[in-house]
Symmetry: C2
C-alpha cells in the first residue's frame, strides 16, 4: 500500500486517464499503469476498468482513491508537525489565477510574501469544469464561478476570496451611458460580447438575458477582458465585465445591474493535502488578507 501509488490512483481519477496522470506526476504512462496494477494486485480487487480506449475507476477504485486523500492529508500533517519546529515556513508555492484575477491579485501578492517563500505564478484560464483538475499541478488555484453555480465538489478545499459584481459595459457614446444603473429590460436587442462556451461568465449572461425575456444576441466570444473592453469601446457590442478586475479601459462605462443579481464568486481551490503544508497556508493567508483589502 504505497502512498505514491495511492497518489497515482487519485491522479488517474482526477485527470481522467493514465497518460494525463503521468503528465502531472512527471512519469511515463507505463509507470502509472504499473503502479495501479501492483496496487490492484495487492488489494485483490480490480481498481480500474477499460472503457473505450480510456479507463475509469471501479467502485473499489473510487473508494480507495477517496481513502488515498486522507492518507495524503495525514502525510502532509506529519510533515507540517515537524516544520512547526523550524524557524519560518520555507519552500515554493505554485499559484495560478485566471487572467483578470491574476492581474488583480498576483502583483500585490508577490510583494507581500515573507522571505524564504517562493511563489511561482501562472495564469491559467480554463473552462469551469477544469479548475479542479488544476489543483494537481498547482497548490493554490484562484478560480471563479457564477453566483449560485454548483460548488466545486468535496474533493477540494474551497476558500472564498471575493464576490465581484458583474456590470454591463457600454461605450461612452451609448444610449444608456448616461444612466447610473441599468435594468435587464433595457438591454433587449443589444449585441453581446460573451466568453467562450463553458467559461464562467457565459451562464450569467444567459441569466441576465432571461430576465429581459429575450434570447441574447451573441456576436463575439472573447475571453480576455481587455480585448472585450476594447471592442465595447469601439462600439462593437456590450458586455458583462467584472467591476474590479475588468482591466480598465478608455471609452467604456460600467453600469451596475438592477433587478437581477449578477456576479461571480472568486475562490481559492486547494487540494486538502496541499492545504496542510505550512508554506501554502502562509501564502493563502496573505491572499485572503489581500482579498479582504480589495473587498473593503
Amino acid at each position: 500500500m504505497d502512498p505514491r501509488a495511492l497518489e497515482t490512483l487519485r491522479a488517474v481519477r482526477t485527470q481522467g486517464g493514465v497518460t494525463a496522470a503521468a503528465d502531472v506526476l512527471h512519469l511515463t504512462p507505463s509507470a502509472v499503469s504499473q503502479q495501479v496494477a501492483v496496487l490492484a494486485r495487492d488489494v485483490g480487487v480490480a481498481l480500474t476498468e477499460r472503457v473505450g480506449r480510456g479507463l475509469r475507476l471501479t467502485p473499489a477504485g473510487e473508494a480507495l482513491a477517496d481513502a488515498a486523500l486522507d492518507v495524503a492529508v495525514a502525510l502532509e500533517r506529519a510533515q507540517a508537525a515537524c516544520d512547526g519546529f523550524l524557524a519560518a515556513p520555507r519552500g515554493t508555492v505554485r499559484v495560478s489565477a485566471f487572467a483578470s484575477a491574476a492581474q488583480l491579485f498576483l502583483p500585490r501578492l508577490l510583494s507581500r510574501v515573507p522571505h524564504g517563500v517562493d511563489v511561482e505564478c501562472a495564469d491559467e484560464d480554463v473552462a469551469q469544469a477544469d479548475f479542479v483538475g488544476l489543483t494537481d499541478r498547482i497548490d493554490i488555484v484562484v478560480a471563479h464561478r457564477p453566483d449560485g453555480a454548483g460548488s466545486w465538489g468535496d474533493r477540494v478545499r474551497v476558500v472564498p476570496l471575493l464576490r465581484e459584481p458583474l456590470d454591463v459595459a457600454v461605450p461612452t457614446g451609448h444610449r444608456l451611458a448616461g444612466q447610473e444603473t441599468v435594468h435587464p429590460a433595457e438591454l433587449a436587442g443589444e449585441a453581446w460580447i460573451s466568453v467562450r462556451e463553458g467559461f464562467p461568465i457565459s451562464t450569467v449572461l444567459a441569466a441576465v438575458a432571461a430576465a429581459s425575456g429575450t434570447e441574447p444576441r451573441i456576436v463575439h466570444r472573447i475571453n480576455d477582458f481587455h480585448v472585450a473592453s476594447s471592442l465595447v469601446a469601439a462600439g462593437h457590442g456590450v458586455s458583462l465585465l467584472p467591476r474590479h478586475s475588468h482591466g480598465g479601459g478608455e471609452g467604456v462605462r460600467l453600469l451596475p445591474l438592477t433587478g437581477v443579481r449578477a456576479g461571480r464568486r472568486i475562490d481559492a481551490l486547494l487540494r486538502p493535502d496541499r492545504a496542510e503544508r505550512l508554506v501554502v497556508r502562509s501564502v493563502l493567508d496573505e491572499l485572503c488578507a489581500l482579498a479582504a483589502e480589495i473587498d473593503g
Copy 2:
C-alpha cells in the same frame, strides 16, 4: 516521508530504543537507525537525542511520531476500503491474553471465528506498564488493570471487555470458610499470596489491606493463579483471585468481599491502525460478544 520510516519512529518510541524497535519490526538495529536518520535529514530537524547509551525522541520526534499514527490509520482505512469489496474478511490476527484471561477467552474465541480467519494466540503475562508495548507485536492484547487505575494512555484504542470481582480465596478448612462473604477487617494478620511487583492485582491487595487498617503480610509472590490456588488449598496463605478465571481448584473457597470494591477490568488493547483492519474488527467483535456472554 516514507510511512515505513514513520512506523519505525513510532516503534522506537514505544519500544524505548533502536534495538527493541528493530526486534518488533523484524529488522536489524542498523536499518532502524538509518531510517530515522534519513527521516531526520528529510525534515531538517533532529528527531532523536542520545541519552546515556540509549536515546529518546526530541519534541519534534514526538510530534512526528504522533502524526505517524494518523498516517498508519489512514493507510489501514484505505486497505479496509478495498477489503470491503471482497466477500468476507480474511487474514490472520494475533491475539494475546494474560494467563487467566487466556484460559477464559481463547478456547471459546477460537471456536467462534469465521472461516478464512486465522487467529494466532499467545499468552503474554507482563507487568502493567508493558501491555501497551505488546500492541506492536500483537493485534489484540487482552490486558487487565485494577479498578480505578490510570488508563492505558491515548495511543491505544481500549475496548472494555469485562469487570471481574476479586474474591478472597481461603482453604476449605479456614476459619472464614463457612461465611458467605468476608470483610477486610476480618482478614487482619492473614498470610497473603500476592503477585509479582508491578503486576495488576498487587495494587488491589494493597487497597484491601489498607481498608483493614494493617500492612498486608505477603509471604509468597505467585503469578499463576493455579499455583496460587494450590498453595491456598494447602494452607500456605490466602489470596485474591478473580471470580471467573481463577482456574478452579479443589479445597479452595472464594469469598466475595464486602465493604470494599475489589475488582479488575479486562480490556482489549489495540493500536488504532490495527483496529481499522476488517479482520481484526471481526475478531474483536467476537471477543466482545464472548465477554458479554460471560458477564451476563
